[in-house]
């Protein structure tokens, strides 16, 4: 069943009376419980697409459906921004609890859920720290915890691991994969990194710029396998994707 269904999506930004067409005729389908990865040049409208799905931008044309609902109706969407969006004036505990507070979850319940997610993400000993006292990888864990504590159905991630070094990045990819296997989250993730796309994306959507549109969708069988990195099929898929991106840009 198609969980995420986007048909002929178009987004324009108005700048001083001039219309600037950012997304044009975007079509994207993602089944429930799968990981989709969007890859494309910067400025092609990837963040804009996520903003539409996260109901931060209602000014679009075309059909956008999440589990049969419009973005504005769908309550189970979580968005993780590129620079995490953690509030510097709240400590880790309160940053994670923020979504629960906004949803008016009872005090006891939110305390329990908060502690559980802290343990799961292995950041329990960081709970009194402020974001400024965290490393990039730790911030990323907190940001993921803040989203997952709300038990979303759809997780949107905007270049989540781009500012991490190679080792941290692979560790976070493993953690994400692990979380995904435990739940039946549907994940749509943006990346610039070809290996990341192949490692995580069961569906890989390639976008082109000006105006942004999806020019190719790859079905990727080897995604979601921890041991795939370095295997021949993995490298082959990377090369296919790489040559395709080269051709297009």
């Amino acid at each position: 069943m198609t969980y995420l269904d986007i048909e002929s999506l178009q987004v324009d930004y108005r700048q001083k009376n001039k219309k600037h067409n950012v997304l044009f005729d975007v079509n994207l389908q993602l089944p429930q419980g799968e990981i989709g990865v969007i890859i494309g040049p910067s400025g092609c409208g990837k963040s804009t697409l996520l903003n539409v799905l996260a109901n931060l931008n209602q000014d679009y044309q075309g059909r956008v459906n999440i589990n049969g609902q419009l973005p504005i109706e769908h309550k189970g969407t979580a968005l993780i921004l590129q620079d995490y969006g953690l509030l510097p004036w709240k400590n880790v505990w309160n940053n994670i609890k923020l979504g629960l507070d906004i949803r008016k979850v009872s005090k006891e319940d939110s305390k329990m859920r908060n502690q559980a997610i802290l343990n799961k993400m292995r950041i329990a000993d960081l709970k009194k720290r402020y974001p400024a006292q965290l490393s990039g990888g730790q911030k990323q864990r907190v940001a993921i915890a803040r989203s997952l504590v709300l038990e979303p159905e759809l997780l949107l991630m905007d270049e989540p691991f781009s500012s991490l070094d190679a080792l941290n990045r692979e560790e976070m990819q493993d953690i994400l994969l692990h979380l995904w296997q435990e739940t039946n989250l549907t994940i749509l993730l943006i990346t610039h990194n070809i290996e990341e796309a192949v490692f995580l994306g069961q569906k890989i959507f390639v976008m082109s710029a000006c105006p942004g549109t999806i020019i190719k969708t790859f079905d990727n069988d080897i995604a979601g396998d921890y041991s795939s990195r370095g295997k021949v099929e993995f490298l082959e898929m990377c090369n296919t994707l790489r040559s395709y991106l080269r051709k297009e840009n």
């Binding site: 996260a54 931060l56 968005l79 921004l81 969006g85 509030l87 004036w89 906004i102």
Partner: protein, 251 residues
Amino acid sequence: MQISKIGWKTVQFFLAIVFILLSWWIFALLLETPAFPPPLEAFTSFFKSMQGDMLLHLRISFYRVAASLLMAAVLGIPAGLFLGKNPHIDQYISPVIYLTYPIPKVVFLPVLLILLGIGDLSKVVLIALIVFYQILVTTRDAARNLQTEYIVSVKSLGANSLELYRHVYLPGCLPAILTSLRLGLGTALAVLFLTETYATSKGIGYFIMYSWSSMAYDKMFAGIIAMGLMGFLLYIFLDGCERYLCSWLNP
């Protein structure tokens, strides 16, 4: 580590006090005038006056400053946050603020005296008006310059406008707000002195000028010390607020 940091702060503080008293004493010796007594004499007179009617004047002045700062904050902070959050409204208000900001509001003292009488209200309103502008402009600019990621990420958690103010705008602008309050405090005390030297018989400003005109220089200097200490205590209070409310700045 923490203890030695506090210990060093205390030493610095102590040294500063010694330095100020020493310079004061040297100046007093050089000037040799009853209008500028040395520290010991001045403080003796201060404690003596505190037992007399100066305390009453001080209390009234304190009330005037505190009330006007409170009034300015209660009006200025929400208005500043609102304008910073809503640039499409600010674009109409901003020129009005821009044109009226540089006008020295003290010149409205006579007008306020006529409209509101010579009681406390005209003084409080004048001080509040001046400090209000400082708070409004600083708060608005801070709110305008908040990183959009904070706002977007909290919005994506489902926050409404009120929750955005509570979780993002107010805490995010608080350091700027407290800075504007501290700056405003200096202005407020200066304007307070001015308003109390005219058409009133109460307040520490009146006490100082009355002592001056009756050549009671020891009392005059006691009043100056009282005014200085009041400013100092209010400053410490705001500093404490910042340390308590914005502990995330220096974790």
